[in-house]
Symmetry: C2
Subunit: 447 residues, 2 copies
């Protein structure tokens, strides 16, 4: 059983509901939409990500015979078990392409299928889209805060499990990071890999010089040196002294990595030591509990740092470790549906989002309308799957990454800042007259 593709990675209630739908023969077309209800306090926008993994899952999802047998032992009825054995997804999907900037209340993905087929994917679709959208939105903040700097994902160790480590690397690259330390993400997604040495490598050797020399001999193409194990500036002086011997061996030192203390101050001292020794082409790379706020501070104070490794705060989205997202039934059997639970009411019907830009190409306002309405602007939800089949080959990650770069470039100035207080007003997301009329009609009908 593969953790990534099993349909048993779902909530029990999806199966009990399915048992209800199958028992009743309820098989009409349902429309479910995935959207975020509100932004975390420290976000001005979101960056859609994770669609590729959702489509791959929908396309290949099957119940294995032994999974159905196991469910039989959990008391599910033969009629459900038969249905599960034959199951595959034959529905339609519309979605915002990965790398699209988006906002609360806007459907990011829409599934249209017979209700049991659309329902069963709820838990995993949310699990996949939520995580990558959250991480891409977090990573975009570092990208905006440190333009032109090399940004590397270092977060696997404190990511929440295997898949989180892998997909955080993907979402961060999509948002504009340059590389990741996670080897599997290099293999799966073709993301450039970056990595140097840990303190343990230095400590295991009897001297820092020896550790530097041995590491460079074994990794002549990846000669980056961690310099903060004992004394940062002292270590850099040792490296300077070692430089001629490295050159003799044909090794070009690429960079030093700072990982503790006052990074800005160390960077200035280290830059001076290297430059005075004529080693102007050795770059300075910094890591150690970095956040986008810290990056911005280092950039604003012109710390001579060429790149940053960002780990925990990125891979856990530590200031906003979840988005208030949902996957809601909006229409069944041709009738719009609405939930009105206190504080959690939804906009009914099958929807589209139209975006208008200003003359400079900056995004200016979004309109959420009913599917079929015509409005100025570009529709953001595009058809991506019909009757269970993709309408195009999987998009290369680099294309999604280019879209994300264009999206971020299209953000108006007041959405680009890190501090929410800096935003004069939230980005305008409006609702069409027809959609509002439909909401009112349903409201009255339920009263």
């Amino acid at each position: 059983m593969n953790l990534e593709s099993t349909l048993l990675l779902t909530d029990l209630y999806e199966l009990t509901m399915l048992q209800g739908y199958v028992h009743e023969g309820m098989n009409e077309r349902a429309v479910f939409e995935f959207f975020v209800r509100r932004l975390p306090k420290s976000r001005n926008f979101l960056l859609a990500a994770g669609l590729e993994q959702v489509l791959a899952f929908l396309e290949s999802a099957r119940f294995e015979p032994e999974e159905v047998d196991w469910l039989a032992g959990q008391g599910f009825h033969p009629e459900l078990l038969e249905w599960l054995r034959d199951f595959r997804f034959r529905g339609d999907v519309h979605a915002m392409p990965e790398g699209t900037v988006c906002f609360p209340e806007e459907p990011i993905l829409r599934v249209t299928a017979p209700i049991p087929e659309a329902q069963i994917f709820e838990s995993r679709i949310m699990n996949l889209l939520h995580f990558q959208t959250m991480i891409a939105s977090k990573a975009a903040r570092s990208v905006l805060a440190a333009p032109g700097k090399e940004l590397v994902d270092f977060g696997l160790r404190r990511a929440h499990g295997a898949e989180a480590g892998l997909y955080a690397a993907r979402a961060a690259f999509l948002a504009g990071f340059s590389a990741t330390a996670t080897v599997l993400a290099g293999r799966r997604f073709g993301i450039p890999l970056s990595g140097t040495m840990a303190h343990s490598f230095i400590q295991a050797h009897d001297s820092e010089e020896e550790a530097f020399l041995r590491f460079a001999e074994a990794n002549p193409e990846r000669a980056v040196f961690l310099v903060d194990t004992y004394d940062t500036e002292e270590a850099v002086r040792k490296l300077v002294a070692l430089a001629p011997r490295l050159r003799e061996r044909g090794i070009r030192p690429l960079a030093v990595r700072l990982d503790s203390g006052d990074l800005g101050s160390h960077a200035r001292h280290v830059r001076r030591i290297l430059d005075q020794a004529g080693l102007t082409d050795i770059a300075i790379f910094a890591s150690g509990n970095l956040t986008e706020e810290r990056l911005q501070e280092l950039v604003w104070t012109e710390a001579p740092i060429n790149g940053f490794g960002i780990g925990t705060s990125l891979d856990t989205s530590s200031d906003a470790p979840y988005l208030d997202c949902v996957y809601k039934l909006e229409e069944y059997a041709g009738k719009p549906r609405r939930k009105r639970s206190e504080g959690k009411a939804t906009w009914p019907g099958c929807k589209q989002v139209f975006r208008q830009c200003d003359r400079e190409g900056k995004i200016a306002s979004d309109l959420v309308a009913l599917e079929g309405e015509e409005h100025p602007g570009d529709p953001l939800l595009l058809p991506v799957m019909r009757e269970g089949k993709r309408l195009a080959a999987p998009e290369p990650l680099r294309s999604s990454r280019e879209r994300a770069a264009r999206s971020l470039a299209s953000l108006p100035e007041d959405l680009r800042g890190l501090v929410p207080g800096a935003v004069s007003a939230p980005y305008p997301v409006r609702f069409s007259t027809k959609l509002d009329a439909l909401r009112r009609t349903l409201e009255r009908a339920l009263a």
Copy 2:
């Protein structure tokens, strides 16, 4: 390639360091320890978890031939590639058993092996132990806040990916939760499953009554009703009216679920409606953005709620979405090693933790000492693997859960509260005279 078991789920620097060690023939015994540097603000203690997954990984870890081939294409040297082909873990592991209460600076797991073997597991050991320890520590807060209540993990959808959803269910159950909604966790770990229906099931039907009736007919053993889709009290009255028809069909309604609004107030109204109809055995279950603080408030105000579904805050440990944990080299080739990076210095040497309890069996103080020292109290680190082989069969999850229950029962009163301010003083973790002397000696040697 299986995401859960591949050795490529690692940081690139593990491989570059390995290339160094193999190139140099550095193969002496190394001791690495995993520990947490400091507690998050809102934690008084940690609950160790995830050891079983670490041991399973160590035991089975191999490089697949095609993985080695891929690494060849990434520029790694033939001598490393040969080493990887033959690789398996042959080291020793000592660890605190799962469900042990623990504190910062205390090794939770210790790996002793030739340095390349011990090094290569750093990223994944941290990734596994960090997550489950974090979640078990978070879940324990709900267990302490709501004694005697049924607690169910609902968090898969907003957990950070597949493995986070799966292991959050495990860690929560270990800490004392009763059940999970995540089906795969029921299958993998034998955790009881719990689940009802979503709002979509109600919305898809033309009336709430019909939805209740059809759901119960299809799931007669799981007749739990979600009552907040339109109007909570109204829905409960409908259920009361429906009760005779359900009884005719031999269906016993088990519970109603509240999911929005003021849960305490709704629970009181709903309890009264049910009781007045003689339905005193229908339980009330509540969910909806719950946290342990909210649970405590509902418990203190005696809201008539029998159980809680806790999702996002649990599975993301939202108030503390990471622990400041590390896996550090403490000894190599018989010599203690120490890092002294600013603000990140470590205690050197191969260590043990001794715990003393008071007369009532409450934990009273811990002493971190060098392995081999003798001190009063119970040693917390036990041998679990020797030369790559487990010393005992995998511990059943229920045994770990019982240990966790005993551990939580042994907490002194001032560590049981949710609010850190309520703790008079941090739990005393001391360091032995010999350990401190060793630290000073190394400090002088490095100066």
